[in-house]
């Protein structure tokens, strides 16, 4: 329906009438050629009548273009009943004069042909019906019934040509349905040449699985997608999946979202996945792929975003129970409507139907994250080539909408680790590999990031433990003994711990010894200092004493001199002493 993105197709081409059929207008760049006849051909049961009816009903209800349905095979009542299952209320539209249904009944056994005739009666009826509702759209279903009713094919062929011409002159956008012929597109081999647009519907069964496909065989005056597009018919009518028409022009978000496992986020540059990227989780059975998905789902819902979980192996109840055992409770998210678990057997539908269902659910639920668990099972619903094509389209589709997608791939035991069954690895942005590491009689889980586009990521293997509290990533032991996991890692870690302790104790002992030695030395220093101080004080004392003695002596001499009298005499002994000294 998004016609804006296909403006390059519209360009200078002719005017188009949107069909309103989901997806078809994208392939055709806007719809069917307005005012011209389009042939819808296909074998019985491929959905021609419904196609025509949806074209009319959508025209009447969505584009305000009334229509005429000229039925050659079913009465108006039967048609009404048939399309009610698609949610179309034909009776109401007829009552509101939006759609006119004319049932053309041709009973071969009642008819005798003699001589020249034409189909003017048909033209008259068509004209009347068109005028009655002011129709812009006309469906003739199935024109070939005429060839069953009349034997003069020469006349019929020329009348058919005239009819196409007449419809064009009338300016109505017409759909003419036709049975697929043996060799060509139609039995008569003229309709496809006189139609401006030919759409081929196909319903094929491959390995007991049916797939409906649509292909625009020709479209005069416009470019169009030429691939086969799968389509489905369900309670909302026809949806065509024009996934392969999407180019590689999806925007790339720089936003990062958590994987729900902090250890894994750390490995992915510390921030987790890019929003809108495709993530592949591959590994052998029992390596914890689903648990990883559950974490991602949980993290998504915790952020208040919606997550669509497509389970191809487990029922929603089983999944919820199993995840509870690792501490993830889906119940509140399911109740809040943030999580939707869609479980179906891969073999229930063909691949295209699966793809179509994903499309529908994505359109309805508008999730932020889609988890497909696992994609490897889809191979069971088709061939490997088909599965790859389907996944390519699925990845493209989700990427185009900025939806982060996580795909789980179960690697068969004998296969190479780095090989996906469905060969989608090149489309994947982030590839996480889970593997068993067998060592010392144990199987342990290892995780590593094989690639992650556009971010710095760890190149190391982490051992990952599934505990009651969820997944925990553990650094594995990488040392002279090699890579160790599980209890060997634990034992090695214990050994290292013991060695560590030993070393620490030794160091502590040395420190203690040093402290003691320091204390002893310090004590010695103190004693010496004390000794020195004592000596010093003694010396000072004796100095003081001798000074005092000198003073006393001098005083004594003075006194003695004074006693002898006269200053001269006083100096005499001095002189004597001086002379003695000299």
């Amino acid at each position: 329906m998004d016609r804006g993105s296909h403006s390059h197709l519209k360009g200078a081409s002719l005017e188009k009438a949107p069909t309103g059929i989901a997806g078809l207008d994208e392939i055709t760049g806007g719809g069917l050629p307005r005012g011209r006849p389009t042939l819808i051909c296909g074998s019985a049961g491929c959905g021609k009548t419904l196609f025509g009816m949806e074209f009319l009903v959508r025209g009447a209800t969505e584009f305000d273009e009334p229509g005429v349905f000229m039925a050659f095979e079913e009465t108006a009542e039967e048609l009404g009943q048939n399309v009610r299952s698609l949610g179309f209320d034909l009776e109401k539209l007829i009552a509101k004069n939006k759609i006119a249904v004319d049932y053309v009944h041709i009973e071969r056994s009642q008819i005798e042909e003699t001589g020249d005739f034409d189909l003017e009666g048909l033209f008259v009826r068509l004209n009347m019906a068109i005028d009655a509702v002011g129709a812009k759209r006309v469906v003739l279903d199935t024109i070939e019934t005429l060839f069953g009713g009349f034997s003069n094919t020469l006349i019929l062929r020329s009348e058919l040509r005239r009819l196409f011409r007449w419809l064009k002159d009338k300016g109505v956008t017409a759909i003419i349905t036709g049975e697929r012929g043996d060799g060509g597109l139609t039995r008569q081999g003229i309709e496809e040449y006189v139609s401006d647009c030919v759409i081929l519907l196909d319903h094929r069964v491959n390995e007991q699985l049916s797939t409906r496909r649509l292909r625009v065989v020709k479209y005069r005056g416009t470019t169009h997608g030429t691939n086969e597009y799968p389509f489905l018919i369900d309670e909302n009518g026809i949806s065509v999946l024009p996934v392969t028409s999407i180019g590689l022009n999806h925007p790339a978000s720089a936003e990062r979202i958590s994987s729900g496992v902090s250890g894994l986020d750390a490995m992915l540059g510390g921030e987790g996945f890019y929003r809108g990227s495709s993530i592949l989780v591959s590994g052998t059975a029992g390596t914890g792929k689903t648990s990883l998905c559950a974490h991602f789902a949980h993290a998504t819902c915790s952020r208040g975003k919606r997550c669509l979980y497509l389970a191809f192996e487990e029922s929603p109840a089983q999944l919820a129970r199993n995840m509870r055992s690792i501490g993830i409770d889906f119940e509140p998210w399911l109740k809040k409507g943030l999580l939707r678990i869609e479980a179906s057997r891969p073999s229930l539908h063909g691949l295209e139907m699966h793809l179509a269902r994903v499309h529908k659910q994505v359109a309805e639920f508008a999730p932020d994250v889609v988890i497909v668990d696992p994609i490897s099972n889809l191979v069971a619903a088709g061939t490997e080539v088909d599965a790859q094509a389907m996944l390519l389209r699925l990845i493209d589709f989700l990427k185009g909408r900025g939806i982060t997608a996580m795909f789980v791939n179960l690697t068969a035991g004998g296969n190479a680790w780095e090989r996906t069954d469905v060969g989608v690895s090149s489309l994947i942005d982030t590839w996480i590999l889970l593997r068993d590491i067998e060592l010392g009689g144990e199987r342990n889980r290892g995780l590593y990031v094989l690639k992650s586009r556009g971010m710095k990521h760890s190149n190391q293997i982490r051992e990952f433990l599934i505990t009651r509290q969820g997944i925990q990533l553990q650094e594995v032991y990488v040392g002279p003994e090699g890579v160790l996991t599980g209890s060997m890692r634990a034992a090695q870690e214990a050994r290292e711990q013991a060695a560590d302790d030993e070393r620490r104790q030794q160091a502590e002992r040395k420190q203690r010894e040093l402290a003691i030695r320091r204390a002893a030395l310090e004590a010695q220093i103190k004693a010496l200092q004390a000794e020195f101080t004592a000596t010093e004080e003694e010396a000072k004392l004796s100095l003081a004493q001798s000074a005092a003695r000198d003073q006393a002596l001098q005083d004594e001499r003075k006194r003695a001199a004074e006693r002898r009298g006269g200053a001269g005499t006083t100096s005499t002994p001095r002189q004597t002493t001086k002379g003695r000294r000299k």
Partner: protein
């Protein structure tokens, strides 16, 4: 062919007799004054005069004037001759230029294939 006819004369004449007792109600649908329509009207009148003198009633309906009748009477081809009476309803498509086929269509003459059986 004539031998076959005589062998089944009893039933066939009985049918003719039955038909003789009732009026033939014929309706011819045309669309405008096309050569085909004009030819059909001419041919029909001639055949009726010849095979059903005095006990036929022809109604010519121009769908250009009454388009609704095309739907009501399930008319697709033009011209179409409808035998409303006697039952059952029969339709003959074309300009009625082939008298034999017209008579077979009107069940005034048995179908060659039926005669052989």
């Amino acid at each position: 062919m004539s031998g076959g006819k005589t062998s089944k004369t009893a039933r066939s004449s009985k049918g003719d007799k039955g038909a003789a007792e009732e009026m033939w109600d014929l309706r011819l649908y045309t669309a405008g004054q096309t050569p085909k329509s004009m030819a059909a009207i001419r041919n029909l009148k001639r055949i009726c005069e010849e095979h059903l003198p005095g006990r036929y009633n022809i109604e010519v309906i121009d769908l250009m004037a009454n388009p609704r009748l095309a739907k009501d009477d399930q008319i697709v081809a033009i011209p179409t001759l409808v035998r409303k009476l006697p039952d059952p309803l029969r339709k003959i498509v074309g300009d009625l230029s082939d008298e034999h086929r017209t008579l077979v269509g009107l069940q005034l003459r048995r179908h060659p294939q039926e005669e052989r059986t």
